[in-house]
């Protein structure tokens, strides 16, 4: 898709060269208001994405998260056609479909099929909306691939206003959400309102997705929500530590991605997604190597009793 990238290239085509002194480079970047905005919004989005990503991975909702963003694409392009800010269309479509997916529940076997069918239809709608929109195509490409280098201080305020309540709600839901993610039956028997929680979680996820779209766009949402958490659950088995690791990784990917993009002619989204993918790859390979090394060791551990 060369046309899309051409548009994105325009945003960052004046690439200064780095001094390789981190402090000087940081000072240079923060001279530009758009970079300050990018770091501010990116930081909030990364924190929200990292925290919610842990629950997405624990609940096996990665596909639902992915679908939400794509369904949101139709909402965003629809809003553009109507002359409204795409954020509102994005929000309406993701929260609405999130609540419906949540109501379908985690246990229903055909859930992913249903999501896929709705997803395909809404993407079709999105294409229609793009064709109806006669104006400049940048808007649509920004929704698809993110436009963090082009956001205003008003956008930053919106991201913060949406991000802080998202984190507060997640803190409130933390334990019951973890409980029902591990096992819904058990949580229900202990009095956890699992269906309400499922709907609430998808609504919060929809909010987080809408925010993350500002940074990486709907097509690349996995990089910030799913990948850091998928790495974190391989590194630690403690829920609180996994949330912290996922958040830390999302922050690192965003900050480093922004910094590289500032000094290069290529788009931010590419660097963020590549950092995420590369780290995931290293984590998987490291794990396989560690397991192989373990299997090479002589069986010095006594066989476990009473196991099958």
């Amino acid at each position: 898709m060369p046309a899309e990238f051409a548009v994105l290239l325009k945003v960052t085509n004046t690439a200064p060269s780095p001094s390789w002194n981190p402090l000087d480079d940081l000072a240079l970047m923060t001279q530009y208001e758009f970079m300050v905005h990018a770091f501010q919004a990116g930081t909030v989005v990364a924190i929200v994405a990292g925290v919610i990503g842990y629950f997405v991975v624990m609940r096996g909702s990665a596909f639902a998260a992915h679908a939400l963003s794509h369904i949101g694409f139709a909402g965003a392009t629809g809003a553009v056609v109507l002359g409204v800010s795409p954020v509102f269309g994005l929000l309406a479509f993701t929260v609405g479909s999130g609540a419906i997916i949540g109501a379908l529940g985690n246990r229903i076997r055909g859930r992913d099929v249903t999501i896929g069918i709705v997803l395909a239809w809404t993407l079709g709608l999105g294409v229609l909306f793009i064709s109806l929109y006669t104006g400049y195509a940048t808007e649509a490409y920004a929704i698809l691939f993110g436009e963090i280098l082009g956001i205003s201080d008003r956008d930053v305020a919106i991201v913060v206003l949406a991000g802080v309540p998202t984190l507060l709600v997640l803190a409130l839901l933390y334990r019951p959400l973890l409980f029902s993610s591990v096992d819904e039956n058990l949580a229900a028997a202990r009095g956890v309102p699992v269906t309400g929680l499922s709907i609430g979680f998808m609504a919060v996820l929809a909010l987080a997705v809408t925010e993350a779209v500002q940074v990486v766009g709907v097509l690349l949402i996995f990089a910030l929500i799913v990948t850091p958490a998928a790495i974190a659950v391989r590194w630690t088995r403690r829920p609180s530590a996994a949330v912290a690791v996922a958040t830390g990784l999302a922050l690192l990917f965003t900050w480093i991605g922004l910094s590289i993009a500032f000094f290069s002619p290529h788009p931010v989204s590419f660097f963020i997604t590549s950092l995420a993918f590369g780290t995931y790859l290293v984590a998987r390979i490291g794990e396989t190597v560690a397991r192989y090394m373990q299997s090479l060791r002589p069986a010095d551990v006594a066989p476990r009793a009473s196991t099958s």
Partner: protein, 288 residues
């Protein structure tokens, strides 16, 4: 009654059905269960003394898990009244420690056994587990539960990587951590091999004795439980029958209760097989 030759049933002849006020773990008076307008079973009247070891038996689909749901307070009886420790069951009550049916953890489930058990303690509470590290009582409760089931060796490993027997022990620890009075286990033996079944049954009996718990265990096969059982609840053909195992698991008693030819067959190792209660067996007497 037949006992397993390896571990004879201890002589326990106290009148378990005696009505002693305040000591009943579960009492049911003419309870009926229904999903919508379809009645599953009715006329269940029984009383279980606290500290009993009880098996809920019966063919698949007869309504064993329905009884479990009513005891947990997840389903209201369609008629009659059922009390747990003298009170109507309340959803999420901490007096019951529960292990659900068919628990199979995702092999990728990346949570330590220790954190899973902690969910049994306060996983239903809202908010963050703030300052949980500064609460020694919480930590001790979790450690006690792990030690009670002998799971210390693998409590810090991810749940998904453990064997079926190990997972079952951690599930039991999760049920015990809130210090319940009643342990409600829905088919805890179904995913285990015979050797693990024996180990887990022995463990449940041991824990129940040490913590003076009432155990209600839903089972498909009575044989692994024979050495521990005080009472049997039979759920079949729309009816619920309760009695001591030696009294109720006989051809005469079951045939009388269910007005159908039921045979209780013992093999030479003392194992019991009940033939004739399963709807499919009645419909296809030559099957199998």
């Amino acid at each position: 009654m037949a006992a397993r030759d390896t571990s004879p049933r201890p002589a326990f002849d106290a009148p378990v059905l005696a009505v002693t006020a305040g000591l009943e773990a579960v009492t049911a008076v003419d309870v009926a269960a229904a999903y919508g307008r379809r009645t599953i079973w009715s006329g269940a009247t029984f009383s279980i003394q606290h500290g009993s070891f009880l098996a809920v038996l019966g063919p698949n689909g007869a309504g064993k898990s329905t009884l479990v749901k009513i005891i947990l307070g997840l389903l209201q009886p369609a008629a009659g009244r059922l009390d747990v420790l003298g009170q109507r069951p309340r959803r999420g009550s901490s007096v019951i420690g529960y292990v659900p049916q068919g628990m199979a953890f995702d092999p990728e489930l990346s949570i330590r056994g220790r954190d899973f058990i902690a969910l049994g303690l306060d996983g239903h509470r809202w908010g963050l587990p703030l300052l949980s590290w500064a609460r020694p009582d919480r930590k001790r409760a979790i450690t006690d539960a792990i030690e009670a089931v002998g799971a210390a060796a693998y409590a810090d490993r991810p749940m998904g990587r453990l064997s079926g027997g190990e997972q079952q022990r951690l599930l039991l620890a999760q049920a015990l951590v809130g210090r319940p009075r009643v342990l409600l286990l829905d088919e805890p033996l179904s995913n285990l091999d015979v050797k693990n079944q024996g180990t887990i049954v022995g463990l449940i009996g041991e824990v129940a004795r040490a913590q003076s718990l009432t155990v209600i265990l839903v089972a498909h096969d009575v044989n692994p439980l024979l050495s521990l059982l005080d009472l049997v609840v039979y759920v079949a053909h729309g009816r619920v029958a309760v009695g001591r195992p030696q009294e109720i698991i006989t051809s005469e008693a079951l045939s009388r209760i269910y007005s159908a030819p039921v045979d209780v067959i013992k093999d030479r190792r003392g194992r019991i097989f009940v033939v004739g209660l399963d709807e499919n067996e009645v419909a296809h007497p030559h099957a199998g």
